[in-house]
Symmetry: D3
Subunit: 223 residues, 6 copies
């Protein structure tokens, strides 16, 4: 049952970069409001924004052995994503693993558990979105799997899916849909520019989006 | 049942400014330790401090339609305050709504739910105190109300009440009590100055507040 | 039952300083992965790192009287540690108490409850690790104890034990074990240096730690 | 600031009884989906259903003194409702207070905190809806108020408002609206009877409520 | 994006019945310790045990429209399973919907949100495993989907997968694996019988499972 | 570091029985309101009440190996008490372990984690107070310790301390203090009898405890 899938497909790097430029909120909207990880997944420092292909890890609670296995599977530009098999906030990951991952070109970590050495990780500019910051150490005793589909913080993620992460949180885009989503996301960005200008000039959303009639029809009363 | 109250009374701007200068902890003490919102209401960036008149919003979970309605009701110097009708952490508010609100003179947002686009809001210096940062999008289908009394994060807030917010959290002051509270709060600030100097010089609270006798009487034993 | 223990033993200052230099995650590992406080204990500002002898406080919910009593018991280099007798997030501590504590040489506060005036505390460089930031005021009516053993955020702490705290959280080291733990922690730091270099050069943990055989033996399949 | 309001108005007993008969879910719907207390307010034993006039209590965390004060204010058929001034789960109430309250005709307790002696309370058939079952004792040191408006578990409750409680939770009905709400609630009950029969016979809500057209119009696709 | 998939495959009824007989804990173990829903999913009354094919529902927060749509898709012996698109504990489901579902042969409901009318549902013997009991009403405004894959309480569920539920919680078994899992689960039950007898007679697991050598080898010291 | 302490001292059985008769709330009060475990520790079925000597277990998250080791250390009348080394709700314990423990005379389990097979445990009348009911399986790979002091659900427990548990929760009494606490607890029970009668007859606590003067002195106003 414990497997390492060595060859996974990834989205096109140019598509990944376009998704990164759009950011989490826009990408989430562009793909029909799906794919968000839970709001408790917070960055260890503000200001990071990225998109990357997921190398997924299913690991037992309190056991970080499979992170070592997963690092070998990384290609430059990937991101590690770990889902424990039951709720856990132990610190699976710290500065040594980050050094190793960064040496292999890894862009960060998404972990539905804890992380530690956050001062070092911040200095290394190795971004992590996690459920907790917690120094609690882990063991290396029980196998898990690498590059199998997992549920991470409430979202279903398959290896090679695109992870978009910024200060708003984390979103997953199915690899096959990445290009279509990037197209829609960029269209949203463009469309928002015009609206932003009009709103900044004092026009109301009520008028720009022509809402007054529908509000009245639904029964809204001004008193 | 869905109403927009268009004319609300506000406290005097000079009183509002005096409350802002005193800060949340002092204002809360000055009014008899009441009016605090729950501790989970955190600012999206550190360092903001303000006081403003509340334009209140009661909205269904996952539906931000009434924010558009509320923005029209803003006067310069107001703050938006949204309470969902059941617990929700969706991202009701982002950079476009903030642009619109800011164009109308709005000073910020208090929301017992989620917010998104926090990088943009930080750059715009549009402060938000929220329950969550969450990119989850919302719909515009169901009416709510604007400028009715609401319970927001455990505090009862009426339209036009004064909201004081800083890094310690959020406090509401009843409009009619705002001036009296400002007077008491300023008196506290003044009184604390002297105590701070004595404490900084090494005097003990035990002596300044004359506590030793009462402690002994209650039965405290030194061993 | 309410007592103040006036003379407590402390670890050697040089040992305390060595523990501070190693940091929470290393110290926690060095002492066999024990002594961590719960992950909800977060610093009010990033970047503080310290070790200090605990002056412990057991206090009723919503009553900060014993903090005044405890401050008199501080020696320079100590840290205050407060555990409420039932769960509470009220703001027991603010800028006046911090001024007093700092004047007595206190290095910070660990509190399984709330803190307020965090802007002031940050400016004073008075670090606090707490369960909540909450302006809620407290009373001075009911006795507690100072310098008795307490359970704080899930860890057992006796007066004079060494508290190590940084951005990863808070760890307690038994006073009698402090020197042995410092020795082991420093050995860990030294040993990690070599590993960090090899990992940074692209060597894999799988090889450095010779894991491949054990993984295969446990049944890990590469596909 | 600490007051006991001795004369409060109550709704008509016959109206209160009619609300009890309708139950929480129906009453909540009948008054426009407002007034529900948080879902964490759970009964200590299943099967109780009641409606009663609220005698409200605002009490400090961990201090049950005002319960003794409030019991004197009870009239037969009332219910006690306690909101702590900050979050607390201590056991404010046990079998002795229940004996006293029951002797005064009190029908139960709503408490946004803890309760204890639940075996005794169950035997006494004294129902309690609480946030926690917790044996933690409380003190009698600090005043609060009786029969002032409070926010209890997220709902605004004024003395004399009608509390409806059953296994679905707790709902408050404004005293002035009690009769109108009872009328609407009974109408709902009557209307539901017909629907229940049709649904039990296998008719679909899609047809009974004529939803198919609107679903298609919104874009629902059957595949 | 809003779709209703009308024809789904289901596992064999005989296999489903065998899984029900084994119960959640055994089935979860038999399939390699995967597929459990979160521990907060609790039954509204004790003693129910079932297995059934999932008719899945993805619904917006606070909107139960798609439940009406889903009921039409039920075949006798199915179970409804609802996952909201963002965290929500509103009461999507009550006695009328249960009457309708039961009339169509539905065996129960799994809902990562709230349920109401629990007294009626208990009397009807309509079991529900939910995140909350909450009377909060919902609207019928926004589309969702029926019979698409969802993440429900942390588990990935596809339409037609087998849901096993009892007082220990809820587990999902992939439809294609149902028979193999049933075989393994029954083998576990059989194997446990012998162990239960030996343990009941006072033999120790340490001896039955031959653990003493491995414990000593790992370094366990008896003192 | 992993040890099994084989000989522990226990309190006198007659004292243990007297504590059981008094129950959790009374014992907790009698020993000065200390020793309570967190309110999230709930019984798997109502109505159990016991006192017993603790055989303590410190175990890694998701690893139940040490339960097998601990069962060998049980004497008739003991109770197992397990504290994980980091937060965990996995199901460490089920019907087979209960069968084994019960065969050795064990009276129940206190576990700051999860339990499963609750239907069987209820039928066996094997009471458990736990943080969660969760079928999640565990491994047997990493050592822990038996009969060392632990922090369990916020309380410090040493092997041989007396655990008192009923529907109000769980309380620990230090072995050396057990007799004194039993004396005080029985005195409380006796004293309460008289008060209960007077309260049942309608006398007020305000009068029985002579509170009116102190309330007035503190400033309570009747209006």
């Amino acid at each position: 049952m414990a497997v390492v899938v060595q060859n996974i497909e990834r989205a096109d790097q140019s598509v990944i970069d376009r998704l990164a430029a759009c950011g989490v909120a826009t990408v989430h909207e562009a793909q029909g409001r799906k794919g968000l990880l839970a709001s408790y997944m917070r960055p260890i420092y503000p200001g990071a924004r990225l998109a990357a292909s997921a190398v997924t890890i299913s690991a037992p609670p309190g056991d970080n052995w499979m992170l070592h296995v997963a690092i070998e599977q990384l290609k430059a530009g990937d991101i590690l994503l770990l889902a424990p098999t039951s709720p856990c906030e132990d610190g699976y990951f710290g500065d040594l693993l980050a050094t190793s991952a960064q040496a292999r070109g890894c862009k960060g970590l998404i972990i539905d558990a804890g992380v530690r050495d956050v001062v070092d990780l911040t200095q290394m500019k190795f971004p992590v979105w996690s459920k907790a910051v917690y120094a609690q150490g882990t063991v290396k005793e029980t196998l898990g799997s690498v590059n199998i589909p997992v549920v991470c913080a409430g979202a279903y993620v398959r290896p090679g899916d695109v992870i978009v992460a910024d200060d708003d949180g984390v979103c997953v885009v199915a690899r096959e849909e990445a290009e279509a989503v990037a197209n829609k996301a960029e269209a949203r960005v463009a469309a928002e520019e015009d609206k932003r200008k009009r709103l900044a000039a004092g026009e109301l959303g009520l008028d720009i989006y022509d809402m007054r009639g529908k509000l009245a029809e639904k029964g809204l009363k001004y008193i």
